[in-house]
């Protein structure tokens, strides 16, 4: 996956988890929590969806790496490079 594809994949997941959120203006370099109403249950779901869709494992200690779209790209790029 390219970096843009990773961003798109994460946004698609958020759209499924939180269909009531407007995702059209999400900034890549700002924490998702500061732009959207996402709680710890929702972050668990992002991780669960990454596993369900792409077989990617994110251990609990690494949840913080998914804070913003940019940090998602940095963290997920090596894990998704062949997907």
């Amino acid at each position: 996956m390219t970096n843009d594809q990773i961003k798109h994949a994460v946004l698609q997941i958020i759209a499924v988890i939180a269909p009531d959120e407007d995702l059209s203006h999400v900034k890549s370099d700002v924490a998702l929590r500061d732009q959207l109403e996402l709680d710890s249950m929702d972050f668990l779901d992002i991780v669960m969806e990454l596993r369900k869709r792409y077989g990617v494992e994110v251990p609990e200690g690494d949840y913080g790496q998914l804070a913003s779209l940019d940090s998602c790209v940095i963290y997920l790029a090596p894990k998704l490079k062949d997907k």
């Binding site: 499924v16 988890i17 939180a18 269909p19 009531d20 109403e37 709680d39 249950m41 929702d42 668990l44 779901d45 991780v47 669960m48 596993r51 369900k52 494992e57 251990p59 609990e60």
Partner: protein
């Protein structure tokens, strides 16, 4: 040959069991939900008699918020279960009342109206009440590790008028308290937020609509539900359940068991002796009279959705000495929700505290006689608060704590389960967890949240940690 091993077996196709099942099946766990009854829903279910449709439980769904309200428990449910507000089709209440001798408090789904009504009715308590509300709003009721505290003690440390204290406790206790006389403060906060800060709603089709939505979703995500399939025993070896014996004698196995049958009920299935468990049993149960009317109550001039009433000097929330305590209770008029079209049949529901042991000890003729005796007594009591509807009644059903135990399997017909809640859901057995009423989130939304939380905590997060 039918499948006999699952990642997770869930006992009970009530709100919590089905919600847990949806979560787990969605994330690719193999899930089997076992339900003894032929209808799903558990403590919030439905039945038909002589062509009339009735709901059990659900007078109103607490935690009602408008679709899209951020951070609310109902919004969390929709997200976690991948459902939409249209799936439940909730219509808001008109307004509800707490009626005590000489005082009425009104509330609707706008919390500010309730605060104003308290301030108007109890001007001397205004500052105290506002401070109590602030304390409630800042309290984290979802903290599973919080130590239990007496709700009466905390609330009385803010309010100095016992009448106001009783009037606030009355609806919160009647709609969700498993403890006699007092209420754990965390539970109080859950109920206060769900009824006063959020509000009441109902699908026009009643609880069937919610159950249908959950069952459809569970099927879509690949969960198995087996109806008329009771569990006879949970077979333990050491500290693990190794297999599940069904009433039919069939044996199933699972890595994890989630039970919504109640804590005492579940531990009995594991063979724990009854005497050890007896002190933990829930006791509080109710009778309910559901009457079909030839016209809606609003045609008689009554537009309140729910009235929580008390006719005595003080409010007593405890197992009655008689079969029924008609001094306090609930008057629910399902027609008085703001539906887009009228209900197919108008009705009124009257609910009062009742004594399980008393009802259970009666032989069949005495049981029927007791119903005939209590029906007019309860009707008489509620006529203090609503127009006389008795000559508009075309059909009546009357259910008792005995009926509730028979159909839900909850001991003593205890609708809110055991007084001590197991917030973490953990039992002495390492792969057996409790969800639903005895885990401690309350109401229909609470029950679903309970199933979701326990599925997340004990299965999805763990699988992930491995």
């Amino acid at each position: 040959m039918a499948q006999t091993h699952y990642d997770v077996i869930i006992i009970g196709a009530g709100m919590s069991g089905m919600a847990a099942g949806i979560r787990l099946a969605y994330f690719d766990k193999s899930v089997c939900v076992l339900e003894r009854h032929y209808a799903a829903g558990g403590l919030n279910s439905f039945y038909a008699l002589d062509g009339h449709q009735f709901d059990v439980g659900l007078h109103a769904m607490t935690n009602y918020v408008r679709p899209g309200t951020r951070g609310a428990p109902l919004t969390k449910i929709f997200r976690q279960l991948r459902l939409t507000p249209e799936d439940f089709g909730l219509a808001p209440q008109h307004h509800s009342e707490v009626r005590f001798p000489g005082k009425t408090l009104r509330f609707n789904n706008d919390f500010r109206c309730f605060v104003q009504d308290v301030v108007d009715n109890f001007p001397a308590q205004a500052d105290h009440f506002v401070r109590l509300v602030k304390h409630i709003q800042e309290y984290d009721e979802l903290d599973l590790e919080a130590p239990p505290r007496s709700g009466r003690a905390v609330v009385s440390s803010f309010l100095s008028d016992p009448l106001l204290t009783d009037m606030i406790f009355c609806p919160l206790m009647i709609y969700g308290n498993a403890q006699e006389r007092d209420m754990e403060f965390g539970q109080f906060v859950v109920m206060f937020k769900s009824i006063f800060c959020e509000g009441l709603g109902r699908p026009r089709e009643g609880v069937r609509r919610i159950i249908t939505a959950l069952r459809r979703k569970l099927r879509e995500v690949g969960g198995t539900v087996r109806m008329k399939c009771g569990v006879q025993a949970l077979n333990a070896e050491g500290t693990r359940i190794t297999s599940v014996t069904l009433d039919t004698g069939e044996i199933l196995t699972a890595d994890t068991i989630l039970s919504s049958a109640g804590y005492v009920e579940t531990m009995r299935l594991c063979g724990t002796d009854h005497a050890t468990l007896a002190p933990m049993e829930g006791r509080l149960s109710f009778v309910e009279i559901i009457s079909i009317l030839d016209q809606p109550m609003k045609h008689l001039g009554h537009d309140a959705t729910i009235i929580f009433y008390n006719t005595g000097k003080e409010f007593h929330y405890e197992t009655p000495k008689n079969l029924v305590d008609a001094r306090s209770g609930v008057i629910c008029c399902p027609d008085n929700f703001l539906f887009d079209k009228p209900l197919p049949e108008s009705m009124i529901r009257l609910t009062c505290l009742a004594n399980f042991d008393g009802w259970n000890a009666l032989d069949e003729p005495a049981y029927l006689r007791a119903k005939t005796e209590w029906l007019p007594k309860i009707q008489q009591e509620v006529l203090h608060f609503i127009p006389d509807f008795r000559h508009h009644v075309v059909y009546t059903d009357f259910f008792t704590p005995r009926t509730i135990q028979k159909w839900t399997g909850h001991l003593n017909g205890a609708v809110y389960g055991a007084p001590e809640k197991l917030k973490t859901g953990k039992t002495p057995i390492e792969n057996l967890f409790i969800c639903g009423t005895d885990q401690g989130f309350l109401g229909i939304v609470g029950a679903m949240l309970s199933g979701i939380s326990m599925a997340n905590l004990h299965v999805l997060k763990r699988a992930h940690a491995r």
